[in-house]
């Protein structure tokens, strides 16, 4: 039997997705009978050049996690795209930009100034900043170019499938990978979202809902929420209604709100915008003053509604 050739790679990600795949645990070992993992730099001594030398489309399925935040990420994405028959954007960062895309609320210059000059422990009298090309006395040293705007994977290469989640939960990962490996069921249409529900988290949330009404926004540190009742109805902003299910509502089980890592729903043009609309629609206020009061208590709309989906949002970044 010919083994399926798989590859895993990371761009701008925290490594949590790698761990998530590693979460396959014993299954991973079983898998190695069916598949050949021919590229997985996080775990194996395979090198970039090995990849470069493979013929195009020689990888059956490549899983790429992480957002695109620098020239190297982009280069890598293009390379992997060329070498793979199927490219899967794995995890929130590759799919929607994830947490790194919050950098789209600021700029490269602001980040550099902050990191290399302003932070209190930084001592940098010469105001040195990292250079993409630097002439050391022994020779030239180069580092990749840092991008001003963080992109999702499909904003730099063509992507076949998406697996949402920060990180995708174990069972879902297993489902997805076996789906590719045993090739029993025909693959879903290109562009499909794998390992997640088509319905929002509310569909699988066990909490009790009463009346959809929000009198005031309550911040998580201000109250001990009733673990049985819908958080939204307790005034806590929960992204559940605007977020794909499939994670098993684990955060809610920990009595914390959903932050939206599973991304927008199938027919939602923009996750954050949709949540904003849903939330404000049920503000319990009739007059401009009262509405304003509640609106003002939503302190950080972008950071709340686009926690994980800034790159995939309509606006994508702030105007600077």
């Amino acid at each position: 039997m010919i083994k399926q050739k798989l590859a895993f790679n990371w761009a701008s990600s925290c490594g949590g997705c790698e761990i998530a795949i590693f979460e396959l645990g014993t299954k991973l070992v079983e898998l190695t009978n069916k598949v050949e993992i021919i590229f997985w730099p996080a775990i194996m001594d395979y090198k970039y050049q090995d990849l470069e030398e493979m013929p195009d489309r020689s990888i059956d399925v490549a899983f790429m996690n992480g957002a695109i935040q620098n020239s190297e990420n982009e280069h890598m994405a293009k390379l992997l795209r060329a070498k793979s028959k199927i490219l899967v954007a794995f995890g929130s960062c590759a799919y929607t930009g994830g947490i790194p895309a919050l950098a789209n609320t600021t700029t490269r210059d602001e980040i550099f100034t902050n990191s290399y000059k302003d932070t209190p422990t930084t001592v940098n009298p010469e105001k040195t900043l990292p250079q993409t090309k630097f002439q050391a006395k022994e020779g030239e040293l180069s580092i990749p170019e840092f991008y001003n705007t963080v992109k999702s994977l499909d904003q730099v290469v063509d992507v076949d499938y998406y697996v949402p989640g920060c990180p995708p939960v174990g069972e879902q990962v297993t489902k997805v990978i076996t789906q590719f490996v045993d090739g029993l069921s025909p693959l879903p249409p290109k562009g499909s979202i794998l390992g997640a529900s088509d319905r929002s988290l509310c569909y699988e949330c066990k909490r009790v809902r009463d009346e959809r009404k929000i009198g005031r926004i309550v911040r998580t540190y201000q109250t001990i929420p009733d673990p049985q009742k819908c958080l939204l109805e307790q005034g806590i902003i929960c992204m559940g209604p605007a977020t794909r299910g499939g994670c098993g509502s684990v955060c809610l089980d920990a009595n914390m709100p959903c932050r939206g890592c599973y991304g927008p729903l199938p027919k939602a043009i923009d996750q954050g915008g949709k949540m904003l609309s849903a939330l404000s629609s049920i503000f319990d206020a009739q007059t401009e003053e009262d509405v304003q009061k509640i609106a003002d208590s939503v302190v950080d709309p972008i950071g709340t509604f686009y926690r994980f989906s800034m790159s995939r949002s309509l606006m994508r970044r702030t105007k600077k």
Partner: protein, 658 residues
């Protein structure tokens, strides 16, 4: 975009004489329209709404096998239905027609020919993009329950109930008190004809009681209203039938022995009645009523005198253990005729009502004038029963006072005050009556003449001005006011002062309105769908309004509106089904997570969460198509037929692209 095959679109551009062509370069609009994807042809015409114009559209649709049509002309508010009908007449679905408004929002508002032309082109493009994505829709037909509920047993409710019943449809008439008749039954005479009120009302009450098509539910209250136009489900709660109406022969033995006495509301508290009583002589049904609030006998069974008396001398029709009854009614239309109450005169401290017995409201005075009233029609001062010589009528008492009391005019006070003054003069020929007024409002058939006649009575003085104060001074009431005509302050020693206080909506109307989801106006009266064009309907479909619950009215207006509301309801009942606009919200079940955000958004309760699938469902019959739920749906599972996000964005692109 969408997967449906490209529609063959025809674009028709109207000159509207020079109205459009005067500012817009029609040729250019035509030529640019031709270049749009899907457009088979674009033609112009001098007057598309004219017969030849419509014919042009028809013929072209047939010859060119068009699937969709864009008409660039005046505002859709003008001729949208006209052109949709044209399209429909060719066999195409009427929703394959879109209007581009290039007149009201084009040629008429821009001088610059170039800009007006460019904007008109954009409007046409928008319409093209939208119509391509329109789906063919059939009007929604819903069955009609051919029965009517009338709430309120006053003259309005009585009239409406009779009209519907006489037309051959069943009517439920729900009345809160023990009898129908309402305010009109309390009146002694009516203006301008001085008919005896009960004499003209009585027969109608009996007719209602006897009518085979009318089911009278007295001592009843609407508890819940579900459903929608043509299909309401109403829960009515009725007081326990302590007295068996069928058996009771009104012998009155029960009342004789009843130990509980309470003020008689029918006489505005000027007399007393027992806890078991008959509201008034002509009360319908002609049976005694047990006032459970004041009866000593109920829960725990303590007294029971009436029952013993009834069993002994009467028809043993009293059952003190009776239970309340709950009626589930199914009706197609509801007529709200909840009537009015008087503004609380005690709030008008300057007039001393409530502190001095000889200051009365006009309705109390009305009872005194009535032959069946507390004084059998004689006018006497409540304080000591003497016959008043000097009487002062104060019009607009607490009315037309935006800051302190009612901002509005109750419309009938000028008339009944004139009548009261006249009646006083007839009953106390040597007495002197004063009427303080601001201006006389006597619009209505024979009204002005009537007031004039009253004013000509001698011993009756009309003073134009407001009364500042009414106070007591050694046994006499002093009325201080100004006569703005003479500019003098007047001070009158009065025996009796009558306050023409205003009409306010009855206490029930607010509660009922919220159950009907019918909106009220600022004062708590029922709001109409349109002040001029739809004065008989509430904005909520299937709800009609009649009488003083809608606004202060006199009897003729009330009866007219009642008959109007009845015929509106009959219009609805005339067909077994009714048609509604199909451009309503739609849920894609597979995408809905039942998060429930949309449920409270809908003002028509058209959205519900299915108990089986747990996801949202739209009642197409209830939905008015506002689309507010669509915007609130976080998963995009809700869409609005023929105004989807896709269509709106296609139009947006048409705007920004050009």
């Amino acid at each position: 975009m969408s997967t449906m095959p490209q529609k063959r679109v025809g674009v028709f551009i109207c000159h509207c004489g020079l109205n459009i062509a005067g500012t817009v370069n029609i040729n250019e609009v035509v030529e640019r329209a031709k270049k749009q994807a899907g457009v088979v042809l674009a033609v112009d015409h001098k007057y598309l709404c004219s017969e030849p114009g419509q014919a042009l559209i028809k013929d072209t649709i047939k010859q060119q096998h068009l699937d969709a049509v864009v008409v660039a002309a005046c505002s859709p508010a003008m001729h949208e239905s006209t052109f949709k009908n044209v399209v429909q007449s060719t066999g195409l679905n009427r929703y394959n027609c879109e209007i581009a408004n290039i007149r009201e929002q084009g040629s008429w508002v821009h001088d610059d020919r170039e800009r007006a032309t460019a904007k008109s082109h954009v409007a046409v493009r928008q319409a093209i993009e939208k119509v391509k994505l329109n789906e063919a829709l059939q009007p929604i037909t819903v069955p009609v329950t051919r029965r009517v509920l009338v709430v309120g047993g006053g003259i309005a409710g009585i009239r409406a109930a009779l009209d519907v019943a006489n037309a051959g449809y069943e009517v439920y008439l729900v009345e809160k008190s023990g009898t129908i008749g309402g305010r009109m039954a309390q009146l002694s005479e009516t203006f301008p004809t001085l008919d005896c009120s009960t004499c003209i009302l009585g027969p109608l009450m009996v007719e209602v009681y006897r009518h085979p098509n009318i089911k009278l539910l007295r001592l009843s209250k609407v508890e819940e209203v579900k459903g929608y136009i043509g299909n309401f489900k109403v829960t009515v709660r009725q007081e326990p039938p302590y007295v068996d109406v069928a058996k009771c022969n009104a012998c009155g033995e029960c009342a004789k022995v009843c130990p509980a006495e309470v003020p008689n509301e029918f006489d505005m508290g000027l007399t007393w009645r027992k806890a078991i009583y008959t509201p008034f002589a002509q009360a319908v049904p002609p049976a005694y009523v047990l006032d459970s609030k004041n009866c000593l006998g109920l829960l725990p069974q303590a007294c029971g005198e009436c029952k013993r008396a009834c069993d002994k001398y009467g028809t043993s029709c009293i059952n003190l253990d009776a239970w309340p009854q709950v009626h589930e009614l199914e009706v197609g239309a509801i007529i709200a005729a909840t009537g009015y109450e008087l503004y609380d005169a005690a709030k008008l401290t300057e007039y001393g009502y409530g502190t001095h017995p000889d200051v009365m409201t006009s309705l109390e005075f009305e009872r005194m004038l009535s032959a069946s009233g507390p004084t059998s029609g004689e006018i006497r001062c409540p304080s000591d029963g003497r016959i008043p010589r000097e009487i002062v009528f104060i019009q607009c008492a607490g009315q037309r006072e935006p800051e302190t009391a009612l901002p509005y005019c109750s419309k009938i006070c000028c008339m009944y005050t004139a009548r009261h003054a006249m009646m006083f003069h007839h009953k106390v020929p040597d007495g002197q009556a004063y009427v303080f007024y601001m201006d006389i409002r006597a619009g209505g058939k024979g009204y002005e003449e009537f007031v004039k006649r009253c004013q000509e009575e001698k011993g009756l003085l009309y003073l134009r001005g407001r009364v500042a104060k009414v106070y007591e001074e050694n046994g006499k009431l002093i009325v201080k006011g100004v006569d703005t005509l003479s500019g003098k302050t007047v001070e009158i020693n009065a025996d009796l002062v009558i306050l023409a206080v205003g009409m306010v909506p009855s206490a029930e109307s607010h509660d009922l309105a919220s159950k009907l989801k019918a909106s009220l106006d600022a004062y708590g009266f029922f709001a109409e769908a349109h002040p001029k064009l739809r004065p008989l309907e509430s904005p909520t479909a299937g709800i009609y309004i009649a009488g003083a619950g809608h606004a202060p009215k006199d009897i003729p207006d009330t009866v007219a509106q009642a008959s109007g509301a009845a015929s509106k309801a009959l219009d609805l009942l005339s067909s077994p089904t009714l048609e509604r606009e199909p451009t309503v919200a739609k849920v894609t079940g597979e995408l809905c997570s039942g998060c429930g955000i949309c449920i409270p958004i809908c003002p028509y309760t058209a959205l519900t969460l299915s108990s089986t699938t747990k996801v949202a469902e739209v009642s197409a019959a209830l939905c008015e198509g506002c689309g507010t739920c669509v915007a609130s749906c976080p998963s995009g599972a809700l869409t609005l037929r023929n105004l989807t996000d896709e269509q709106i964005l296609a139009m947006v692109e048409a705007i920004v692209a050009s």
